[in-house]
Subunit: 203 residues, 2 copies
């Protein structure tokens, strides 16, 4: 985890309540009650520690939000970079992007769930939205390029297709349970098979 990775250098956590534990519990509460509906008292109650112990790790509730969103965004941005570095046809890079995004989503489910609920109510949220939009643009660019290559059908609006694609991936956060990497790979298979080849049985 990026957040826990940088934590020990900054402040020492108490045993059993290091920053990554505090962050994981906070994200769970944010997802249940909404970030704005969660107080530091709520987090303190969930963790069973005093507020001062939380402030030992972070300066504010907003810093917890920033660290949690970073956890999701860094994972997705790494995938985007791998895809940008990849040679080969756009349709293959698009498929790689979808599959690896599913893996990140399964791997960092509560963090991505939180990210997808961000509405831009603060500077931290707006920065997260800007980073998210860059990822969405990559999907849109790859769809357009793959249509231009003749690999994807030209009759469907690439902008709408791109939105449906990342909408389909993102909707996984609505029903997925924490699960294994193996399941993530299978899920990526079904999703890619659905979107590229369609559900209809070709006789």
């Amino acid at each position: 985890m990026t957040a826990s990775g940088s934590a020990p250098a900054r402040r020492r956590g108490r045993p059993g309540h290091d920053l990554s534990t505090v962050l994981a519990a906070s994200v769970a509460v944010f997802n249940e009650r909404g970030y704005d509906g969660t107080s530091m008292e709520d987090l303190s109650a969930r963790l069973g520690i005093g507020k001062s112990s939380i402030y030992h790790h972070v300066e504010s509730k907003e810093e917890l939000l920033r660290l949690a969103l970073d956890e999701a965004l860094v994972g997705l941005e790494e995938v985007a970079q791998q895809v940008r570095d990849q040679a080969g046809p756009a349709v293959q890079r698009l498929e790689m992007l979808l599959r690896r995004s599913v893996t990140v989503l399964v791997d960092r489910l509560p963090y991505v769930t939180l990210l997808l609920r961000v509405r831009g109510n603060s500077e931290v949220e707006r920065q997260a939205l800007t980073r998210r939009r860059r990822l969405d643009h990559l999907v849109a660019d790859l769809v357009s390029e793959a249509v231009g290559d003749g690999a994807l059908r030209p009759d469907l609006d690439p902008a709408v297709v791109a939105r449906l694609l990342f909408g389909t991936v993102n909707s996984l956060t609505e029903w997925l349970k924490p699960t294994s990497e193996q399941t993530a790979v299978k899920l990526g298979d079904v999703l890619c098979s659905l979107v590229f080849d369609g559900l209809r049985r070709v006789s």
Copy 2:
């Protein structure tokens, strides 16, 4: 609208601030700030009327939530009933369900958006989730039936496919802007073409 339709019989609203106006403004604030993060003061400020004027229409913030969720659920349940009443192959009824759900979603966008963010934090929310689950089951049943008919591919897990399908439809709430019915029909076309026939160009 169902809510405004039943309102005049109950309590008289002031001109320009009937229940449907109060409801529409409340849903906008709920979607921006989260239901739990919204107070009656917030609603009062947004509407530019006193809290007592809001209580003239509803007994509580929760009643606003219930009315708003009902607005979305009634629309979707009507579509589900039309599909259940329809004869013909399951694959056709599934396509009809997807297309008409898109129309309801476009038509009642803020209400469906609110519905999809409900987490079950109260009895009102839990009842809405129960009704939503019935709609999801209809999608799953139709997918299974269409696979059984040989109309859809048998190699993809019908339960996962069903979830991806309603996930794809629901994800429209993440990026759609209020738009025309014509656009809803076109959007249904692209969505159905994508999920049934796939994006890949068949040469």
